[in-house]
């Protein structure tokens, strides 16, 4: 009951402010120092269950950004964090709650592309801007004009890493290896295949594996016997690390090019020396010398006792993009926020220069990394 009263109050305030703004529009814009913009932003993330590690990084990144924004005082954001457990139905319920009861002005999340496929249409139909920070599958922003994302899709990251590797190692013949029981690794594989076709590479064989497999020797023995110049491998780091270790052990020494799932320091932790030469493309590079990145890493480490990963960085940038758009809109209004979000151009975040394209999808250039001396370094 209380909640709905508060909800009505917020709407009333927003309406009032809206009318007031309308009245003031006649005068030239000249009052930024006045009242701060108060906004309620919803977050849908995986707080419990499998994948909670992603949700933790994401909410940490968002909270850090919120504290920075609120400290500045131009925009004051009240976060409403809801758990989706990585499940579609729960993500939908969370979105409905945020939209209807909490009356948020925008939503950040959910974590998985699958979840966005149900939460996105709901938010779009209600006219609430929703921005995925880790939803990389195809067709996310095509859900509708209120759906955004700042997660670099695999279809942009993989061509960058393959392009550089092919040029450097003069690759002609490749073997493809991917996890066929996961949407993410499967879509990474589709991109690898497409890019290989475009670059006229000779695909010697396509091998698959399943999540949690312990033994990849049969596939790797077959790949080794075909003598490829490189292996393009679409795997998550857990399987990817083991694949690398077993491949190197059996004498398969050619370069490995991976998708974004491979981009984790955990790969090096698992595979040790065997990770050397692994090439990935990523929007996020924590070891970068960019002062903005350094500042973020230091702050994050101080607040949470560990280094931020890609998920934290993307969430952090997403919140700042949102806050900037709120400031530009000048008011916590869903439709106005949507328009100013869509107009975001050349935002300078920890992931580099960021813009939305006409379809509210990501425009940025990924960084290509290679594992050298036990850590990810910039690929030259």
């Amino acid at each position: 009951m209380r909640r709905s009263v508060r909800g009505i109050a917020v709407v009333a305030c927003a309406l009032f402010a809206f009318v007031f703004m309308g009245a003031e529009k006649a005068k030239p814009a000249a009052k930024p120092a006045a009242e701060p913009i108060r906004a309620k932003i919803g977050v849908i993330s995986i707080i419990t269950g499998q994948g909670a590690a992603y949700g933790e990084a994401i909410t940490n990144g968002i909270k850090l950004a919120r504290d920075e924004v609120n400290a500045k005082g131009e925009v004051l954001v009240d976060l409403k964090i809801e758990d989706s457990s990585g499940k579609q139905e729960q993500a939908l319920a969370a979105a409905q709650k945020l939209i209807n009861s909490e009356q948020v002005v925008a939503i950040i999340g959910p974590t998985l592309s699958n979840e966005m496929m149900v939460a996105g249409p709901e938010a779009n139909a209600s006219g609430v801007p929703i921005m995925g920070t880790s939803t990389t599958a195809k067709g996310i922003t095509q859900i509708g004009k209120y759906v955004f994302r700042n997660a670099l899709p695999e279809s942009q990251a993989i061509p960058a890493s393959i392009g550089k590797a092919v040029k450097k190692h003069n690759i002609r013949k490749v073997a493809l290896l991917y996890g066929n029981d996961d949407v993410f690794t499967k879509s990474g594989f589709d991109t690898m295949k497409e890019v290989s076709g475009k670059l006229k590479l000779n695909i010697l064989t396509i091998e698959t594996f399943q999540k949690g497999q312990a033994d990849y020797k049969a596939q790797l023995t077959k790949i080794a016997s075909l003598k490829p110049d490189a292996v393009f491998c679409s795997a998550l780091y857990n399987e990817g690390g083991v694949i690398l270790a077993q491949a190197r052990k059996m004498g398969l020494k050619v370069p490995f090019v991976g998708g974004n799932g491979f981009n984790s320091p955990k790969v090096i932790e698992i595979a040790k020396d065997a990770a050397e030469g692994l090439t990935v493309a990523t929007p996020w590079f924590g070891e970068s010398n960019d002062p903005k990145v350094k500042g973020f890493v230091a702050k994050y480490e101080k607040a949470y006792g560990k280094k931020p990963d890609q998920f934290a960085a993307q969430a952090y940038d997403a919140f700042h993009i949102m806050a900037n758009a709120l400031k530009a809109a000048g008011i916590a209004d869903r439709a106005k926020l949507r328009d100013s979000l869509a107009a975001t151009k050349n935002f300078q975040g920890v992931l580099g220069k960021f813009s939305f394209d006409a379809e509210r999808d990501v425009v940025m250039s990924p960084i290509v990394l290679i594992v050298k001396g036990g850590k990810f370094t910039i690929f030259n």
């Binding site: 066929n180 698959t208 033994d215 020797k217 049969a218 077959k222 083991v242 270790a245 955990k266």
Partner: protein, 294 residues
């Protein structure tokens, strides 16, 4: 490539066989499928990993440690999940199946809590010893795994067939009450069976770590399901069936990848099992149902 893949297949098959032996022993005596066996196996692997990689102790210590821990787990399993249900009027066979499923979920989550969900490196210098035979590289580990599985199989078969304890075990399997009347301490025999089966799971766990170098808390599930398929395929309760079934599954999986498509790896292996079961419903080494299981 053929020889290398053959070795890969035999190694994988031997490990499947040892996991299946644990299932088959418990099923042969108790007529129940111990769904927690895969998780006990997984704990064996983790104990071995802790001893070898973290403490840096030699491999025999790892085997010993894994066997002790998994045997103790078997003891607890029998005492708290199986015995209370045994002989209770109205308790169906499914009751113990469900209780072991409960134990398996519990163990998997405990492992998740303690070890996390990622892969753990099972590091041992022994796994690096290899020799070249012509163009083929053979790791000593692969030979040892095959030997241990053959040894366990023949040891188990001989123990069951030749020793007094084995005889008592078979009597218990034949008929619990009659064996009890004839002076066999059936509770002790059953406990011994579960403990031995669990200890074999522990051995298999360490072997998996040695062979593949990585373990995680999901291996119990995947290996356990394969082990279950194997005992149905090889003949429920048959020691030789477990061994033959394990090798056939391991080899067929490997060769499907080598000469076919890895996407069909599990499909073809299981289609083969279905076909054999259609021809011989009691499994490769299974006896017709009227006869007692050996």
């Amino acid at each position: 490539m053929f020889l290398e893949q053959l070795i890969n297949g035999v190694t994988l098959g031997s490990i499947y066989a040892i996991v299946a032996l644990g299932y088959t022993l418990v099923f042969g005596v108790l007529d129940i499928i111990n769904m927690a066996h895969g998780e006990i196996f997984m704990f064996g692997a983790f104990v071995g990993m802790l001893i070898v990689s973290k403490a840096g102790a030699p491999l025999p210590v790892a085997f010993l440690g894994a066997v002790v821990v998994t045997a103790a787990m078997g003891l607890l399993l029998e005492r708290f999940a199986l015995r209370p249900l045994r002989g209770r009027p109205g308790a169906s066979h499914l009751a113990s199946l469900i209780s072991t499923i409960g134990v398996s979920i519990l163990l998997e989550n405990i492992a998740h809590k303690i070890f996390g969900s990622g892969n753990h490196l099972f590091e041992t210098s022994f796994a690096e010893i290899r020799f070249e035979v012509g163009p083929v590289t053979i790791y000593l580990v692969q030979v040892v795994i095959l030997l241990i599985s053959l040894l366990l199989m023949t040891g188990l078969a001989l123990w069951l067939a030749r020793t007094r304890a084995g005889k008592a075990l078979r009597a218990t399997a034949e008929n619990l009450e009659t064996a009890g009347l004839l002076g066999v301490d059936t509770n002790r025999m059953i406990t011994a069976t579960v403990v031995i089966a669990s200890a074999m799971g522990g051995v298999a766990g360490v072997l998996v770590g040695m062979a593949f170098n990585y373990i995680n808390n999901q291996i119990g599930l995947s290996m356990g399901l394969k082990g279950l398929a194997i005992i149905i395929f090889g003949g429920m309760g048959s020691v030789y069936g477990a061994m033959a079934g394990g090798l056939i599954l391991g080899l067929s999986e490997t060769f499907v990848v080598a000469y076919g498509s890895s996407g069909y790896r599990d499909a073809i292996a299981f289609v083969a099992i279905i076909v054999i079961l259609l021809i011989k419903p009691q499994g490769l080494f299974g006896q017709a149902h009227a006869e007692a299981r050996r």
